[in-house]
Amino acid sequence: MNTDDLVERLSEKWDLTKQETREIVDLVVQNMCDNLAQGNDFTIPELGTFGTHTRNKQKSYNPHYEKYMMLPPKRVVDFDASRNLEDDLKYLGIENES
């Protein structure tokens, strides 16, 4: 599923044109990105918590240069799926196999 599908479904449900829906979806996404960029955490119910944390600098071995590299610290996005979502999907498709 991609954004187009999402927009189509949402526009059907809310009786909006696709363009309108697209604008709102873009706004939602943009707001989420802005908040993450500012270092804010937020939770979307039934989906999960978005946030950021800073990864320490770390030493790693680069096999190409055959040397150790000091990787700079990095701020990365966290996503923690909500309990409900996780539980609902936990054994999806696995029950059939086992």
């Binding site: 599923m1 500012q38 000091m70 990095k74 609902d88």
Partner: protein, 497 residues
């Protein structure tokens, strides 16, 4: 650690931007989430443009360990939800550190130095503990004065972290401790791009100026070495080579610092160069304008000529048109400057000008139809006004200014100069829908002829364009005037249709 905003706040912000109701936005975003869930159920992946990709990842069965009961347990196969942010979002989030690149650690190339590696790892761990509980001294054995502690934290940058990465890494510190110091570090290391972060962390005011601090780093390194020697005896034998190595690496430490500073400097230099370039351009433009002013006396008219030309011949003379407003603004200055000139010219050409002026007046008197004398409105010139500007405001077409000139011929010596307090008769156009009546356009054409004659008399190079414009405004204008024209100019004008 991070500032947390509630779902409601997020929804409110979106609602405000979208102009929809809060309730709608609330439900919409919830639906958005529900659809992502549905997509995960159906496809296993959901790709949201600009945000990222949610993915259901299958984890195989594996053995685990229950720390409470200390028993081995089997973790059954299950799905894990993974979120991979888009590159754009990743870069946006990582903006504070984006200027840092991985550095090769030269000293660590040799194999068979497990002790050193351990030491290195230890130091990293130390860093972590320091950031988590930075209040505790790194080496409790050594007591330090508070100011020394302060220095120590700076020295750490050199010592444990030859590449100055520690300074970044200390970003975590401000939340718990040492805000002033961390803020200072940021100011020094990261420069303006991190101002936002500094604000966000609300650091206390840095006790020292960054510049001062930089000056001090030299001394600190010296002191640092002293400390190093103090500390060495206390360290174990294994650590000794490591310490030496660290020393060596510290010598290379300026490379990173220098680089970061250089980046800042080049950024600043770039803007300075850009500013200098713009100023230079402005100066050239001003010089050019002054040049045309001297060459063609009043530039307003000169550029008007060009505009006439541009309008009717070559539509690509945007530049001269762009320059026009400036010239109008300069009109007052020009008047002041041009006054002396104009007087001289007037004196020199008095005889000719008078004769042609009379002639022209006669012409316009003869050529105008009996009912042609247009209604006239008298205005008084105020500062900054030009014929061009008057025509623009009266007729909404500045190109009609020769009409005003022609009407006021006796009182205007130089069509490019009018004086404050002078009263001018503004002929009122009688055409409809912004079209000139036939009679009016004849008047305008005659005005252009007059302007041409004046320019020709004063040997201004653009004179022929006025003749061209006259022809353009009224095809048979030359039948209404008995003035003599230069043949070349007439040929040029006759190309107009």
């Amino acid at each position: 650690m991070n500032h947390k905003i509630t779902f409601q706040e997020l929804v409110d912000a979106i609602a405000e931007q979208s102009g929809k109701s809060k309730q709608f936005t609330h439900d919409f975003v919830k639906d958005f989430a529900a659809l992502i869930k549905e997509g995960l159920e159906n496809d296993g992946t959901v790709n949201i443009a600009g945000l990222g990709k949610f993915e259901l990842k299958k984890m195989d069965e594996r053995e685990g360990y229950n720390p409470e009961t200390e028993e081995k347990i089997t973790i059954p196969a299950h799905n894990k939800i993974e979120f991979t942010p888009y590159k754009d979002l990743e870069e946006l989030v990582n903006a504070p550190y984006s200027h840092m690149e991985p550095e090769i650690i030269e000293e660590e190339t040799g194999a068979g130095q497990p002790a050193d590696e351990e030491k290195e790892e230890e130091s990293i761990e130390e860093d972590q503990t320091e950031t988590d509980s930075p209040a505790s001294d790194e080496e409790p054995g050594i007591k330090k004065a508070p100011w020394e502690e302060d220095m120590e934290s700076e020295i750490e940058v050199d010592e444990d972290d030859p590449f100055g990465l520690n300074a970044k890494h200390k970003n975590r510190v401000p939340f718990s401790f040492d805000q002033g110091d961390a803020g200072k570090d940021e100011q020094e290391e990261e420069g303006p791009e991190d101002e936002e972060d500094v604000v966000e962390f609300s650091p206390e005011i840095a006790p020292e100026e960054p510049a001062e601090k930089e000056d001090r780093t030299g001394e600190q390194e010296d002191k640092n070495e002293e400390k190093e020697s103090e500390r060495e005896p206390k360290t174990t034998r294994e650590e000794k080579p490591a310490a030496a190595e660290i020393k060596a690496s510290r010598k290379s430490s300026p490379s990173f610092r220098d680089r970061s500073h250089r980046r800042q400097n080049t950024g600043g230099a770039f803007w300075i160069i850009a500013a200098a370039f713009i100023v230079l351009l402005l100066a050239i433009a001003a010089w050019y304008l002054m040049g045309t002013q001297q060459q063609a006396s009043p530039p307003a008219a000169a550029s008007e000529t060009r505009q006439v030309q541009g309008e009717e011949e070559t539509p690509s003379q945007d530049q001269t048109q762009g320059g026009q407003p400036e010239q109008q603004d300069d009109a007052v200055q020009q008047q002041a400057q041009g006054e002396a000139e104009a007087e001289q010219e007037a004196a020199a050409d008095a005889g000719q000008a008078a004769s042609t002026g009379q002639k022209a007046a006669d012409q316009s008197g003869q050529t105008a139809d009996p009912d042609a004398a247009p209604p006239v409105e008298t205005i008084t010139v105020s500062a900054g006004q030009t014929l061009w500007g008057l025509a623009a405001s009266e007729y909404e077409n500045p190109y009609l200014w020769p009409w005003i000139y022609d009407t006021n011929k006796p009182s205007i010596n130089d069509p490019d100069i009018i004086y404050v307090g002078q009263s001018l008769d503004i002929p009122q156009r009688r055409g409809q829908n912004n079209e000139l009546s036939n009679n009016d356009s004849l008047q305008v054409a005659l005005g252009y002829v007059e302007t041409y004659l004046w320019y020709k008399e004063n040997n201004l190079e653009n004179a022929r364009f006025y003749l061209y414009a006259a022809k353009k405004y009224h095809n048979r204008v030359f039948e209404y005037t008995d003035a003599t024209f230069d043949e070349d100019d007439l040929r040029f004008a006759n190309r107009a249709q």
